[in-house]
């Protein structure tokens, strides 16, 4: 029944209306945020419950663990957010609060093993080791029935080492992921040689010359550098010396057992 006001009162009315809209908006917003907060806390407690009931599975079943980590990533929770991380005002990571640290511990323990493997093999590979080899080595020392671990877990574990300001990092050569445990940069030529050595397990000077169109001196230099870093092993008992990727020490036998 209202009619468009044309007098002065119309100004008041529009002011009142907009004020009412604003207050209603505020009400809506705050009820929205309380309901969101409720949802979030419900979700947190559910997640906590879930994590507690399935803590064992998370630790022991790699695909379960990966799914769980994926779910957390999807909702913007970093399970491994370190307690020293900037956002943690409440001390202790989200995870360690939720799981009594068991998932956190899982990765920290794994990180310790990664460090051990890297240290034990540094002499033979110059501090550069494939993620898969690290996994294989860790798995091979586990007692039967021990929890299965995946390369994905290894990578997460390496990330937990970051806050220590350590020299551990991952790097990709070709299509293979490596863990580097000494702070040494590879130049592009060295990376190219390592990449080539992944294919057959070894390279020769003439292979590099033919495939990368390098002059002999360049190929020789790149190889010699890698040999002096323990990143390549030489086999002199063939027509042309072959320079082997030490990572193949674990692989050579797979197609040739029985000796």
């Amino acid at each position: 029944m209202s009619r468009k006001g044309v007098g002065l009162a119309a100004f008041d009315r529009s002011r009142i209306t907009s004020a009412q809209y604003a207050s209603h908006g505020n009400n809506l917003r705050s009820s929205h945020s309380t309901s969101l907060a409720t949802q979030l806390s419900v979700f947190r407690s559910l997640l906590q419950q879930f994590a507690q009931t399935h803590g064992k599975d998370i630790r022991s079943n790699p695909s379960f663990r990966a799914e769980f980590a994926r779910m957390c990533a999807a909702i913007g929770v970093d399970p491994l957010a370190s307690s020293s991380g900037a956002s943690g005002k409440d001390g202790g990571s989200f995870w360690s609060q939720m799981l009594g640290g068991s998932v956190n511990d899982f990765y920290f323990e794994l990180a310790v093993k990664v460090v051990e493997v890297c240290g034990a093999t540094r002499e033979e590979n110059g501090g550069l080791i494939g993620v898969k080899e690290v996994r294989d080595r860790i798995m091979s020392t586990r007692i039967e029935g021990g929890a299965e671990i995946t390369e994905d877990d290894i990578l997460r574990a390496v990330n937990t080492l970051k806050p220590l300001g350590s020299s551990y990092s991952t790097l990709t050569v070709g299509n293979k992921l490596y863990i580097r445990s000494i702070p040494k940069e590879l130049n592009t030529d060295q990376s190219a040689v390592l990449e080539a050595a992944q294919l057959l397990g070894y390279v020769t000077v003439s292979m590099l010359m033919a495939n990368l169109h390098w002059p002999r001196a360049r190929a020789k230099t790149a190889i010699d550098d890698l040999v002096s870093e323990s990143m390549l092993w030489v086999d002199k008992q063939c027509d042309e010396w072959e320079y082997w990727n030490p990572g193949f020490m674990l692989e050579v036998e797979e197609d040739a057992n029985g000796r």
Partner: protein, 179 residues
């Protein structure tokens, strides 16, 4: 006459099929890693075959399938490395250094094992011939059964030094009394 072994063929580690394993690595740290791997392999191989002496031309150093060979000169370097670990010793300290004792158990360890066996079987104050000790029926199940006589002498010498045994008799008629 040796004790039953769980498997009849020696399982070589994977790196035994890694061709550069048979070339002395020019880089010192790499060579060190290589020596450690050889040392473990040699000990495992000798333990499996119950070898006490290893000549430089042992088949272990040749991988026929790969057509690769650790040449005697390099094998000697590996055994010198093992010597520094206390895991090998040249036979008769020979200048030619062509055969080495491989201590997958050191003489001290052998002495301990024999001493324990004497204790367990209550044979203190009994006299045994050396032949009985390593070849007799009573020791068939023991690790030292069939042991190299020279290594046995070394182990017994250690027990003698500790005052736990006394060796007497002639060359091939030796006996030992344990205390």
């Amino acid at each position: 006459m040796t004790t039953l072994s769980p498997s009849t063929t020696f399982t070589y580690p994977r790196h035994y099929n890694f061709p550069p394993f048979f070339t002395r690595q020019p880089q010192l740290t790499t060579f060190h890693a290589q020596c450690r791997k050889w040392s473990l392999l040699i000990q495992a191989y000798c333990r499996f075959h119950r070898l006490f002496r290893l000549p430089l031309d042992s088949p272990l150093f040749t991988n026929e399938r790969l057509n690769r060979r650790l040449v005697p000169e390099d094998a000697r370097a590996v055994l010198d490395f093992m010597r520094s670990e206390g895991r090998a010793e040249w036979v008769r300290g020979g200048e030619e250094r062509s055969v080495a004792w491989v201590w997958w158990r050191t003489p001290e360890e052998w002495a301990g094992i024999i001493g324990d066996w004497v204790e367990e079987t209550a044979q203190k104050n009994t006299v045994l011939t050396l032949y009985e000790l390593t070849e007799g029926e009573a020791t068939v199940s023991q690790e030292f059964h069939g042991m190299d006589p020279e290594v046995l002498q070394r182990a017994l010498a250690i027990l003698v030094k500790r005052g736990k045994a006394q060796v007497f008799g002639q060359e091939d008629q030796q006996g030992v009394k344990f205390f």
